[in-house]
Amino acid sequence: MVGAGAVVAGCASEPAGGKGWMPNQYNVAANWPVQVKGRVPIDSSNPAIDRDDTKCILCGQCLEVCKNVVSVYGYYELPIQNDITCIHCGQCTMWCPTGAITERNEIKKVQAALASADQHVIVQTAPAIRVALGEEFNLPPGSLVQGQQVTALKKAGFDAVFDTSWSADLTIMEEASELIKRLTTGKALPHFTSCCPGWVKFAEYFYADLQPHLSSCKSPQQMLGAVAKSYYAKEKGIAPEQIFSVAVMPCTAKKFECQRPEMNAAGILRGNPAIRDVDVVLTTRELANLLKSNGIDLSRLVDTPYDSVLGESTGAGVIFGATGGVTEAAVRTAYYLVTRQDPPAALLQWENVRGLKGVKEASVELPGVGTVKVAVCHGLRDARVVLEKVRKQQSDWHFIEFMACPGGCIGGGGQPRTSLPPSDEVRKARMANLYKLDGTAVKRASYQNKEVMDLYQKFLHAPLSEESESLLHTHYVDRSHQLKPKEKV
């Protein structure tokens, strides 16, 4: 009776809320610190990264990687300006244990293009895809599936399958020429690589003062995109408007890169600036989903070669996918450009720039130029050490390679989530197979790529020519006003 009375009168009722749960680290008295907490901010209009709040459990791992590996979160002063600082590297998508953070899924756009009868859908695959895609089909980490993935893409309905390693060779032709120009004039040294879009945006945010050091070369993805809608279109007699250009990348920042307003060189050449050089970027994971949804089992397919005229590659173009690969490839061709001789064997197996050490240093003797000192950084927290030295003019490097993701593209934010958190074992396995592919290749340096040479002969004339500059080179944005870098972290 008393109990019933209490219930009726409301003395026994309970307040609303508090029926759920929180990760245990948060369930402590308010005066105790919690180390790993919260999550990274992600703008709803972020072109590369998306988050499903319903899956977020506030484990704090995205924040850990963003701060301690990428060195973005926590490296700017509060209050923020009018931007949510993000370099789109996608490492958070690799660490997120519940899969709440993913790439911005664009499979539907590609499916729509494939279904459309009047569009010529081309696709390029980055060097690092061929040693990672197999993992999504239960193959061991690093399995080489280059030929199978071409077959798979053909089966999925792509009209032409091109190799980003081809445009990596093209990049090297341009970038090595640019490097030699800088080495001989002594201007803008050290030379910074520019093929990693995450690194480029990072530099635009935090090291805008060092922008002259950045190579003006576009990344291989954007070079292939620009060439496909100009040179390839001309060769094949297809209107650039009809070409739908897809890039499969190990990277989420590539989604951002292809949407940069200046990435419409082929369109400008055509007189139609609305044409994008690359229309959609899919990550390795998205490609795997696309193939699976089409019932294509990669592991059961035979090999098919890439399509001409943007399909030939050399060992140099392939190792772009690993940290140090760009440096090694650039030096092989630079050696040739200076000496007109093939590089010595040591430069075809340059161990000093290979491996997973955070900052690698090496030097090479270029006859007629002198000693060229190089540094290779992957993971941007390590890059900061190098960059601070350059900023303080305490460095004697001539060439520095930067990759946002640990291990380079093979460890990119768009790669299969084969281990959690991403592990060096997986990275090493992928790298080993890229170098194996290079080691067994007949052509080891970019200047040996016949299809690249054909391009110069028929269309661009020479590296750094006026045509090359307009199609293959770019400029950068000063983003330093969008944040106040922290003096001390």
Partner: protein, 277 residues
């Protein structure tokens, strides 16, 4: 002693951890149509707290984004609780204004009364209830910070004793040029447990302005306190008037009878009260 939360708007990066924490701890659904973070974020029955994004200009005229966390302000003298006629809203000893669903009738007077428009209604449900932030009263009772405060990675929010937080806020805004020299929630409608400091004027960030420092229940109280006296006085007056009027009518009738020289049939003009015989 009332607890409180001090919010430093300048530290918020808009990650929305707090909104997720609120959903997790209170087992709230995600609204497919109404976001809890960003420009269109809005409090509703599923969103007990939201982080809104506003484009503003800082003191140097530079365009900046600012994020404002919204939730129940937990007034020191809550209008909603005073408006609730079934005690479904009560302020506890920690200062949390708690909602007891069992006691709610669903009249929505609290929504009318709340100067911050915080209580929301489960419009889509068959038997809707009011919903709002509870200041994680069960966590606070254990000495833990509210869920939203606990998860904030940049330390936007600080949980503690309201009085101490208020002092801290004043020290901070005195010391740092960045801040406006006002603490939102210190005086608004008599003071709130949630206190905010900012570098951008609060009204630009969607905070209600012009609320004044008078606690809203006092408007009601100044009316209600007179009710018993008026009721009693009015009753006595009416009784008096009734007797007086009746007597006057009787006298008038008697006079009339005298004038008319009538006799007998005395009840001709009496009203119906004394009609029974």
């Amino acid at each position: 002693m009332s607890k409180g939360v001090l919010v430093d708007i300048t530290k918020c990066i808009g990650c929305g951890s707090c909104t997720v924490a609120c959903k997790m701890w209170n087992k709230l659904e995600y609204d497919q149509n109404v976001s809890s973070i960003g420009e269109t974020a809005k409090l509703n029955d599923k969103n007990w707290t939201v982080v809104t994004r506003t484009s503003a200009q800082d003191s140097k005229g530079q365009a900046v984004w600012r994020f404002a966390k919204q939730q129940c302000m937990h007034c020191l003298e809550p209008a909603c609780a005073s408006a609730c006629f079934s005690r479904a809203l009560q302020r506890n000893a920690d200062g949390a204004v708690e909602y007891y669903p069992d006691l709610c009738v669903g009249c929505r007077y609290c929504m009318i009364a709340c100067p911050f428009d915080v209580p929301k209604y489960e419009w889509s449900k068959a038997a809707p209830l009011i919903t709002k932030c509870q200041l994680c009263s069960t966590r606070v009772a254990k000495g833990e910070a509210p869920a939203c405060v606990a998860v904030c990675p940049t330390g936007v929010m600080k949980f503690g004793d309201r009085q101490e937080l208020l002092q801290e806020a004043h020290q901070l805004i005195r010391r740092e040029d960045l801040y406006l020299k006002t603490v939102y929630g210190e005086k608004e409608v008599g003071g709130t447990c949630w206190l905010y400091i900012s570098d951008i004027p609060f009204d630009q960030l969607g905070f209600k302005s012009g609320l004044g420092s008078v606690a809203l229940p006092s408007y009601t109280h100044s009316f209600l306190k007179n009710v018993p006296i008026i009721a009693l006085g009015w009753g006595v007056l009416l009784t008096g008037m009734s007797f007086y009027a009746r007597r006057r009518n009787e006298l008038a009738k008697a006079r009339q009878e005298r004038l008319a020289g009538k006799n007998g049939e005395g009840d001709a003009d009496a009203d119906d009260f004394d009609e029974e015989a």
